[in-house]
Symmetry: C2
Subunit: 451 residues, 2 copies
């Protein structure tokens, strides 16, 4: 007997179908669990999974629906959580033996929002050690010899493998955008401060930001809507309304948007096939893309990012590393060493440059709807390289706290995904999503007419 | 020069007009402040008001709107907060000299939600001492010699006097429904656990519930939507989706709803004019209202409520009262005395009866869409009585945690408002609001046809 494969449903459609009673959450979660059972021995996306508890949540959401009680934005839809997001009913192990079996007492704030949205928390996805650089054993679903990217490795791989339609990740450098690009899924890191980091492991109070993964633009917008919210306890959180993400993804642009491509001095790190693909894409957009060379100050922001990241992660991890010297990776030890050498004067200078960059970007998007850029330097690297890939194309925008999207629009020389990144104005995430939807429609129309 | 009186705008329309740029939040807040300036010397609704800070918030919301950045559900709409709701930028004095000048460090969780909704926090409204019985100097806007009811005295009076279109209150006995009835406004206390009590002064962990006031059904629904949310730190908060309140208030009932009227042994406390008005209202609904006599167990729930309330408020206030014996009212001292005499066995029995009442009500609303009941025993009492009125018609439903609405549908013998209460099924607040909207339309249609 064949039946409809529910793991192919988008989250938007699944939530609609569950609310309307056309499918049950239980059936959807069962399909996801079956898919995981079938493929996770190769992909290793999950750090923790409790099938029974997930099915209990699903049945509860079905009961609520049948009783005519309120349903949520993600009613009965399963979600994966990067394993640095605390959950009071599942361990949260932060990708490190140091925290093996660690059971938080409280849910992260974003988990409260997921419960309120009616989501089913399927389990915890693998993260690199402390969401930094030392890789997990997670494989890229497109080619198990390749890396899924990091640090949100398991979240990106789980969504790409259709283990789950939605997953939460975090980005301090390029940890949402890069794995999304490598795994051929949509990654979205909204404006800094949109989503509370309460209950999420801190590596850098200045740079850590929350984002998500999905298999469509609408789905990733819906996910971010569900977890957005102000939290006075998070110093980055802003006490203002959040963008309507799904509304943005579903909106028509009032006029064709304007894009900017910036040439950076590190463009020699971009693979030739990715470079060609992006050039062709930009070419196809004709006059809609302006090309400029990044100023030396703009190009230097990647170094400013590095100073802040190394300085702060060192302060956050040193005590853990000193107490567990044998359980800390070389990458982490090196970063701690680098961070310890950064003077507070140099760090404070870096923070000042970051603040002036934010001021610069506040008016930058008066002339452009989005910057169009690589999401990574090309296809996913081999697992055997020991690296999760180069995040250089993400650092500038993460530092500035701007909303960033990775769209799986290109294919590289080995038939592996190559992501295209769009970056928009702070707190105008809806405009960025609308611009991305325009871009997708425009490319689809070109393909239909054979242009 | 005459101009449109913005204080007459509903919150729903004001938020729409501000988002569309037809009016500014600044103009709306100025109109509210002018109205307060003109009448609060008689009404005494406000415990704290900072006109400058309110105007700053309003201008900020206008700037956000003009910049094309995201707007919220209550964008630029002023809201008053009962002065037991903590605010980090305004004192929170709990209606007691004990807490004069008390400045919280954190906002209550519901205040976070208001900021996220784009609301302007206009100020703090007067509450009876510790939201219990000892009255404030707040007067009823319909007749300044009368009480506005309590304990959310200032919130109800401020909304009735058009000082502000929306205000937050709390109900442990009847402190939202009763003042709404006396002041001729809409009061809504949603299902227990819909709104977090984090940062709200605790009198009874079992009974304290959050609600709101407005001048229309849609407005009060919108307000509750804006502040609803799950909070794991609040033991009553439920980790499930909340009802779409505004959607409920705007929905058409699929069929004409069924109501139940219950005769209670305490009906002799109902004033004759209120009794006649309610009878006529029920008569006009014809066969839609079933009439029954409350069982002895159901009728006794008001006593169960009293045991729990006295027991818990005693435990919460005793330390404060002992440290400040000269600053505690007789009413409060009496309640502490009563509570101290309740054994833990009797209290636990009361909790068990409450739990079985909740089980009883879980199926009760299979046959009825709403219970229709008095909101209070009649018109507002005289201020000179020293009492804020009788809450007997609220206690059963507060104890059961059911959603309750007060609708200003009747007028008493002195031309003062008399409220009608509707009570619905737990976590089906949208159905209750839809039922209330049907009732209002039905009565309006009768008046038009002169029936």
């Amino acid at each position: 007997m064949t039946k409809h494969d529910l793991t192919l449903l988008s989250a938007v459609h699944a939530a609609d179908a569950i609310r309307a009673g056309r499918i049950t959450s239980e059936a959807l979660v069962e399909a996801c669990l079956a898919r995981i059972e079938m493929t996770d021995h190769t992909i290793h996306a999950w750090a923790y999974l409790d099938a029974g508890a997930a099915l209990d949540q699903a049945r509860e959401m079905d009961r609520i629906r049948k009783a005519g009680r309120p349903t949520g934005k993600l009613h009965g839809v399963p979600v994966g959580l990067k394993d640095i997001v605390d959950t009071r009913d599942m361990p949260t192990q932060r990708g490190s033996a140091v925290f093996a079996g660690r059971q938080p007492e409280k849910d992260a704030r974003l988990v409260e929002h997921l419960h309120e949205a009616g989501a089913v928390i399927l389990g915890k996805t693998k993260t690199t050690e402390f969401a930094f650089m030392h890789p997990t054993d997670t494989a890229n679903p497109f080619d198990p010899a390749r890396s899924p990217g990091g640090s949100s490795s398991g979240s990106a791989a789980a969504v790409a493998a259709r283990h789950v339609p939605l997953a939460i990740g975090t980005q301090t450098g390029g940890s949402v955008i890069r794995p999304a690009a490598f795994c051929g899924v949509y990654g979205f890191k909204p404006t800094r401060g949109t989503i509370s980091r309460g209950g999420v492991f801190r590596t850098s109070v200045t740079l850590d930001q929350i984002g998500g993964f999905a298999n469509s633009l609408e789905d990733v917008a819906l996910l971010i809507d569900a977890v957005s919210g102000y939290d006075q306890a998070d110093p980055a959180s802003f006490a203002r309304p959040r963008a309507d993400m799904l509304g943005g993804a579903q909106a028509e642009a009032p006029v064709a948007p304007d894009f900017l491509w910036l040439d950076f001095p590190f463009d020699d790190r971009l693979d030739e096939d990715a470079s060609e693909g992006l050039s062709a894409l930009i070419e196809s957009l004709g006059g809609r893309v302006e090309r400029a060379t990044a100023s030396p100050q703009l190009a230097d922001l990647v170094n400013v990012h590095k100073v802040i990241y190394d300085y702060e992660i060192c302060r956050n991890i040193t005590a853990i590393a000193e107490a567990n010297p044998d359980q800390i990776s070389i990458e982490m030890q090196d970063a701690i060493g680098r961070g310890a050498e950064i003077s507070s004067a140099r760090y404070e200078d870096a923070l000042r440059v970051m603040a002036s960059a934010q001021t610069f970007f506040a008016s930058f998007f008066n002339d452009y709807d989005a910057v169009i850029a690589p999401a990574a330097t090309g296809q996913a690297p081999m697992l055997s390289s020991g690296h999760t890939g180069d995040s250089v194309y993400c650092l500038t925008w993460t530092l500035a706290g701007l909303p960033c999207l990775s769209l799986p629009l290109l294919v590289g020389q080995d038939d592996l995904p190559v992501g295209v990144q769009l970056i928009g104005a702070a707190e105008e995430d809806d405009r960025l999503l609308r611009t991305a939807a325009w871009l997708q429609r425009s490319l689809a129309a070109q393909q239909q007419t054979g242009e």
